[in-house]
Symmetry: D2
Subunit: 131 residues, 4 copies
């Protein structure tokens, strides 16, 4: 089975005064890759937001193993794993294209809530993500 991935290239404004991609930016990369993954499974983060269903992160763990810098190409992978009836896990890696180096290993756990902050998992959510 192939792993879902999205290709990126570092943009200079994402680098900080150390000349490397700022730690917080990886969060953006991972989010964009997750949303593309969801979209490929028929789940549209933006449409859900308009419908007052918010997909939110409840926990993240990130291991930073190397740095990306100006000009680097890389992919971000996404693998889904069910955590519980209301929590969904996404194993994600940032892999540098030039040498296959795993730059970051991440686990992001999310859920879906409604306007009152109560769990509101769309019908068939986990089934679609594991399909």
């Amino acid at each position: 089975m192939s792993v879902f991935s999205v290709e990126f290239k570092v943009r200079d404004y994402e680098c900080d005064m150390q000349g490397i991609v700022n730690n917080g930016v990886y969060f953006n990369y991972l989010e964009h890759a997750r949303h593309e993954f969801l979209l490929a499974k028929g789940i549209d983060f933006a449409q859900l937001a308009r419908d007052k269903i918010n997909l939110v992160v409840v926990r993240s763990e990130m291991d930073y193993k190397a740095s990306l810098t100006s000009g680097d190409r890389f992919v971000v992978t996404v693998a889904f794993e069910a955590v519980s009836k209301v929590r969904f896990g996404f194993r994600q890696q940032v892999v540098r294209a030039a040498d296959g180096k795993v730059v970051l290993d991440g686990l992001v756990i999310g859920t879906a809530i409604n306007e009152r902050g109560r769990p509101a998992i769309p019908d068939g959510f986990a089934e679609r993500l594991t399909a």
Copy 2:
């Protein structure tokens, strides 16, 4: 002993289409509070970067417990804990001012490396942070 903290107010551009602060932005908040903490201890991230000593994050764990939204005031706390000779931990919380709610619980583990990516802990680093 008082806990080090920095006061913030949510800026509207930090909110995403869900109307809440985007997950990645918390990383920025935590970083800014850590750098202010370091500065209060006499350690200047920017000066170190100019001296080719990079303070980098090697692992982060974040538990998101609630959301911040437009107009919210909050503090970010920083508590130092030594992890090993070359790894330093920072326990951090984001606490909403209006109700004292802990919005995020975080642990950020960092180290200092030189231009060749080798550990390069400034003299007296841990001592200063625990002072």
Copy 3:
């Protein structure tokens, strides 16, 4: 008459690999100051967005005269000027605290539109801003 202003301090993640605040970040600073100005006049950008009235920028002009760097404190000023019945201007400056240097001179022209993209200026908008 005093000029409306908001105090800021540069956050390290706002600096790019040149060690200075990235050009795009000034846009964020100006926006935050404008929204605080609007709020002081009783106009809440976030509430308007929830009511499907979007305050949007239609033109900006910026003259960058100096750079901000790590640790710099500064203020962003906001002065309102009516441009037309449906266009509102905001003269803004970024002024470094240490020496009073004008770092950026900006003019931002905005309007208010509804969901169909049609002008939708809230009642008494210009009156409140000039009060």
Copy 4:
């Protein structure tokens, strides 16, 4: 003559609470396209920064004509024009892929300075950009 352009897709974290790309983000898009343009001409922003030559923006003018939203694909164009011996202009447009709509019309004027803030135009800079 073909116009230089870079392809993008909106990332959800770039959208604000109005559900559209935040005004400040366009600055990032334009910068990334300019740096790709420079790179295609053999001028590396990051390498220059390491050599203590900073390419900086001195003026920008932006006309926002429409909004981008989640999922939109678009291109950013770059056309060079010399302004003076030490100032360089870049005419840029953001064009939505779906309908060819010009979303933003921009003019960015930049220069190159050294560590003391004095003009420091790399040899053959304008020649390379007009080649």
